[in-house]
Amino acid sequence: MAELGWTGLLIPEEAAGLGLCLGEVAALHEEIGRASIREPLVVTALLAARAVALGHNDRLRTEKLPGIISGNLTATLAWLGESTGLDTTNVGPVAVRSDSGWQISGTARYVPLANSVDAYIVAARSSDGILLFFLDDLTHVSIDSAALSDGTSQGNLTFDGLTVPPESVIADPEHGSSLLDDLLDIARVAVSAELLGNMQQVLDMSLTYLRQREQFGRSIGSFQVLQHKAVDLYIQIELARTALWRAVETIEAGADPNARAMTVSAAKWRCSEAGLSVVQQGIQFHGAIGYTDEYDLSLYVHRTIVLATFLGNARAHRARYAKLFISSEGKS
């Protein structure tokens, strides 16, 4: 992926990126989902590379961005604390000003690729606001990693009073929060698109199976109950496509952060929920073979489970949506 320059997806061309628009990014991720390509493009391109590209540190942008885009330097984003949630109030690590810059402590949880990258973008809370740091000396970071359903991993990073020089600040307390929210929401759109690709592929595989598989002397796709269940999945997928593209269009039209958050949460909620429904019913359509790890379907099952959770699952996004709805119009 990096070889194709895709890590520079949303990065302007003048900064060696691809300069794609969000719609193109979504379309690409839909294809990635369809093919079940297990590349961490969301993490490297939309979380890490975008952080450096949109951050206010020219030196890092000049020195590090080309490496990230070319794939020579892999990076991830670490931010989430003990109390999980979707917005920047849930940042885990804490930064305190020191003589030589900043001292970081605390834990960032559920960091994708935690133990297999060269550098971290770390978000940390300070008394002035949220900062983002670039960190490629990992000697004082302890990592506790866990394997995920789809073969990838995530881990908790613990910072034990690590000192970071001012030159490593990507975003200062004034801009950190809004940058982090932006990074996360854009990444959620791509994850939703990947889920959409996943579910389409699972439906297609299921339809093929239903047409071919025979029981009681007839193709099982001829049973009305299975037909209607397939139709209901198809409808779910159509609604998910709408939700995804509404998010894309809203953002491309320059929505404010609140409107962006609402439309992104709607999309991620819908796509996560529909994704899981589709794989669950996909397993049922396939019968016993659908429950094995030996059949291609399993790739999509595992991947959907991970994507449906990554950057907030349906339940978390529904809760965020509820909060935004109540504050924006529920009481009006």
């Binding site: 047409r211 009305q224 037909q227 209901d232 609604l239 998910a240 709408t242 939700a243 529904r318 949506y321």
Partner: protein, 385 residues
């Protein structure tokens, strides 16, 4: 009536024009109604629209319509739906008028179209028969040519507000020997023709929304056929196409949802997290349905056609409508089973009316089971048995 090229108007200006007119002229009693309003209630407002030349958005300008292109059509429906404007008995406009413009004889066009536009004629549709249900082509009402007249005998049912209609268009069997769809013709009749009897049917909601229409040796002029003899099925299919933007419209669900929101505010339900959770699930479904409806309408704009997508919209809109009214009935609490509107704080809302009125949506215009069969075959290419 000045001749305006609405299609040349900027979208927002066009929308504002309609929005302002509705706000000014359309009475509250015709907005956000959870029931089908009758002709006498809605006639004054309909005449106002007629006077403005805004009654027939899809008709060509030369026939007195607005001649809207698909983009403006979508906007037109969007504005009327969002404003919760009740629908008049508009089968003359959206169905038979459209069909006559395409297939009617010159005499038919000249006679019927102005009368429809002036609200002199109100049309109803004679399709279903007892026993035919979703299997429309099994209809048995027959018309036999006798000199200059068709003699019609039989019975129609589920004819929407036939008691208000001056005219009926219907499918009749003109060749009993032909196969199912092939011996059917498309006939027009005045409702006051001797031999036609109308019996209203009371619905669960207590409204006389449908009728039975009986035909007893009814003599109808020979020329009252649209298209050729025994080609009624083609006419019916064409008519179906005209409904493509209305049958799966989010209108009803949106109107009910507006009332649900009002009820929730009055009852303070937005402080209840469990209600909010149920409410936003419906909201998301409505948003995604509206979005999907617009996406499909966009495809029409760009020259695409709406085939089975119509089935998706029909399924989603009717089931969503029911879910909205089910939640409304439930959160209305002890007032849920009240007949007619009751007071919730400052609002007067009729949850039971909504609940009942949403029931037939999954049954009529091809039941949702039929729609799913269609999608399974036509889109998902599932094998027949």
């Amino acid at each position: 009536m000045t001749e305006v090229d609405y299609n040349a108007m900027p979208d927002e200006e066009f929308r504002d024009m309609l929005r302002n007119f509705i706000e000014k002229e359309c009475p509250a009693s015709l907005r956000y109604q959870g029931r089908r309003v009758r002709w006498k209630e809605i006639k004054p407002w309909t005449l106002k629209l007629s006077k403005k030349g805004w009654l027939a958005p899809a008709w060509p300008v030369e026939h007195g319509g607005m001649g809207l292109d698909i983009e403006k059509m979508v906007a037109y429906h969007d504005i009327f739906d969002s404003a919760g404007v009740s629908r008049a008995p508009d089968m003359g406009i959206v169905m038979i008028g459209m069909l006559l413009i395409r297939f009617g004889s010159d005499a038919q066009k000249k006679y019927y179209l102005p009368r429809i536009l002036a609200c002199e004629d109100i049309w109803c549709q004679g399709y279903s028969e007892p026993g035919s249900g979703s299997d429309l082509a099994s209809l048995r009402t027959k018309a036999i040519l006798d000199g200059d007249h068709w003699v019609v005998n039989g019975q129609k049912i589920w004819t929407t507000v036939a008691q208000d209609a001056t005219d009926i268009f219907m499918l009749v069997r003109t060749d009993p020997t032909a196969k199912k769809q092939e011996g059917i013709s498309f006939l027009l009749a005045r409702m006051d023709t001797p031999g036609i009897t109308v019996r209203p049917i009371r619905t669960l909601g207590g409204e006389e929304e449908f009728c039975e229409v009986f035909f007893d040796d009814v003599r109808i002029p020979k020329e009252n056929i649209v298209g050729n003899i025994n080609e009624g099925w083609t006419m019916a299919k064409t008519l179906l196409g005209f409904e493509r933007l209305t049958i799966g419209s989010p209108k009803f669900a949106m109107i009910a949802f507006g009332s649900l929101k009002e009820l929730a505010r009055e009852k303070g339900l937005f402080d209840d997290p469990v209600f909010v959770n149920d409410f936003i699930k419906l909201k998301m479904d409505i948003d995604d349905h509206v979005g999907t409806y617009r996406r499909y309408a966009d495809a029409l704009k760009h020259g695409g056609s709406l085939g089975p997508e119509m089935s998706i919209l029909k399924i989603v809109s009717s089931e969503l409508y029911q879910r909205v009214t089910e939640l409304m009935l439930e959160v209305a609490g002890e007032q849920g089973p009240h007949l007619g509107p009751s007071n919730f704080g400052n609002a007067s809302i009729d949850p039971l009316g909504y609940y009942f009125f949403s029931r037939p949506g999954t049954i009529y215009a091809g039941s949702n089971e039929i729609q799913r069969n269609i999608l399974a075959k036509a889109v998902l290419e599932m094998p027949s048995q």
